[in-house]
Symmetry: C2
Subunit: 397 residues, 2 copies
């Protein structure tokens, strides 16, 4: 799609994945790569690395740095003295495999044809995103991560990482994530995919595809923000000048949505949107604890399977954060994560925050998230002599 290249190319570095790179659902990528940004300095002991997984649509540019001084998507959380304190930690941020900001995805050229993959991109799963990012960690020569941290899709990807790579991270932080998407989230996202995918498959004119992308993004945004926030921010304010019956918009909230949607369409590849969105819906942590299910693609979500999957994890400690106003990943889902981990004997902190920003809170509520995340990481004693949690705790006494 010619939505590319994105407006502001990132200064991320490309890391080649092992080739061929085999995907969970059976597909293969040749010469695939992921875009990576890092912040802070890797310690001589290589024991201060934190791997960060993003939401559906973010790039690897999580924070500004000398090579790219624009604000990153988690600018408030990454930097000296911030929650991901770059004077202490080495933060690795990876653009998800399948995305379109430097990582191989449907917008990348298919080496067989030289043209963008589009619908020929192989089936993508959340586990593939985890595995591609771990390959970048391997390339950096890091045996064990101090922690993996992820928000939204990233809050699922950390679970995939933990179960695919037991022992490769000491700690895990899942923010506004889920063991598996619920029916309402599936319904909302699948509608967005239907809108974009049906036009792409029909070979519709680019303008029609972009229109569908705008609409899909608006549905997405409305699933991310809290109802009260919209009410407080826009209420029933009408546009000036008022559009009137003919066309256009009557209300300010419509103008705001349109602005966000147009911005998104300029940045994001429609097929990448389709593939990553679908990966989110197909993901089920519990499938990793299940017996093979014949031809079934969607795992029949089962608490016993989830418990078995959790028993495979090798984590010292986890932090699960939910936001009460989250409509897309409601707090019962974060409680489920915490419950499964706790039942598996993993030391688990569960924190529930209140924010009118709903699912998007992690992007804006720096003051709320900072003490929770910073405190958790601090207690891990990352980079202190002796990396085990209890040793670190003993040092502080």
């Amino acid at each position: 799609m010619s939505a590319f290249p994105p407006e502001s190319p990132s200064a991320a570095q490309q890391v080649l994945l092992p080739s061929p790179f085999r995907l969970q659902a059976g597909g293969v990528l040749e010469g695939a790569e992921v875009a990576v940004e890092t912040y802070g300095t890797l310690s001589p002991g290589r024991d201060n690395a934190i791997l960060l997984f993003t939401g559906l649509s973010a790039s690897a540019h999580a924070a500004s740095h000398p090579a790219d001084t624009s604000s990153g998507w988690w600018e408030g959380m990454i930097g000296p003295g911030k929650a991901l304190d770059t004077t202490r930690y080495f933060v690795i941020s990876v653009n998800s495999l399948g995305s379109c900001f430097g990582s191989t995805g449907p917008a990348s050229p298919n080496p067989v044809t030289g043209c963008p993959y589009g619908a020929d991109f192989p089936e993508l799963r959340v586990e593939d995103i985890a595995r591609a990012s771990q390959a970048a960690v391997d390339a950096l020569g890091i045996d064990q991560l101090a922690a993996v941290v992820g928000c939204s899709l990233g809050g699922m990807t950390v679970l995939a990482h933990a179960v695919c790579f037991p022992g490769r991270a000491r700690a895990m932080v899942s923010i506004s994530g889920a063991v598996a998407a619920n029916a309402a989230a599936i319904a909302t996202r699948s509608l967005q995919r239907e809108m974009v995918g049906s036009l792409l498959r029909a070979g519709a004119p680019q303008e029609s595809v972009r229109q569908a992308m705008r609409w899909a993004r608006k549905i997405g945004v409305l699933s991310y923000v809290g109802t009260e926030l919209l009410e407080k921010r826009f209420g029933r304010d009408q546009t000036e000048p008022f559009a009137g019956r003919g066309s256009g918009t009557d209300f300010e909230v419509e103008s705001w949505l349109e602005h966000l949607a147009q911005k998104f369409v300029r940045q994001f590849d429609p097929w990448a949107y389709w593939y990553i969105s679908r990966a989110m819906d197909l993901f089920d942590f519990a499938a990793h604890g299940a017996a093979p299910e014949g031809d079934a693609v969607v795992h029949r979500h089962d608490a016993a399977d989830a418990a078995r999957a959790a028993s495979y994890l090798r984590l010292e400690r986890t932090l699960i954060i939910g936001v009460q106003e989250d409509l897309l990943f409601p707090v019962n889902q974060q409680r489920e994560i915490a419950g499964v981990l706790d039942a598996a004997g993993i030391q688990t902190d569960y924190v529930e925050l209140a924010s009118p920003y709903g699912h998007d809170a992690f992007l804006t509520e720096t003051a709320l998230f900072t003490p929770v995340l910073a405190g958790f990481l601090d207690e891990l004693g990352i980079g202190l002599p002796g990396t085990a949690l209890r040793q670190a705790a003993a040092l502080r006494r």
Copy 2:
């Protein structure tokens, strides 16, 4: 639009409106009519009539009757011994002005051109729906209604009726309604209008318009049903056979949405959807208590104005019902209605129900709504000698 005529023409009777029929926003309709169904028998004293206002997309066919034995949209609530007991009450159900089930709307022929109005239909407001229905009541020779009852859009229309026709009804019941739509509801509905309206205005092929209608309806449905209901009913069940990466649907919840959307597109006119949806967003009861606001079309919602509007009402008693799981008209909005009425000195019952059906609960939760509505109407003593509430109460002692 050739979505017409609807699959099952209703046996409703047409009632001519006064011609010209002047609309609130300045437009005029010539020879307009509304489709009306009635259930039960009008008492000799003409004091047992209940006027029913519908949601956005319902016809006048609220209950089965000899001329149309198909189930109506409120079948469980209307009939002998039911909440709207047809052995006692005379129920008048009107297809909203602007709709497409026998009432004049955008799909009706414009008498000037002979072609459907489409975008030339004059601007529609909720007050026009109330006034057209009251014209049907006038045509039946009823001076005073025992009650007006409305759900969803109808829960707003009863407020419009009450303020446009003080004293013409003794009681009012507003179910899952609002004084005015909130920002999230406006955002959700305006997106649906954008999708349908932009294609209609562009003269897009009928197939594209129908596609946009399907998508719009899916957004609508997802705003009506509760998250927990979807989870319980569909969870993560996959379709059989599984569609796979190529196209189609992965999950059962998608198939269900598609079925509902296809059914809707066969029945409802796209322009009617656009006009009525917009009327819902532009409605503000408080505007009736406000000083003229120059060129502003959307009233700047104001509690003092709402209080002033409520002071104009002449109602013996009101019943306001909200459903805790309602995402589209959250209970704070029904509390607002009840608070405004109560502050105006109107005897007001407020009942909050719990139902996983959310905004749609009034359509399905017969057992929950029946005692509340039946009890309220019973206390009005409708049709008993002496219609005033206190007299009726005295009679029972």
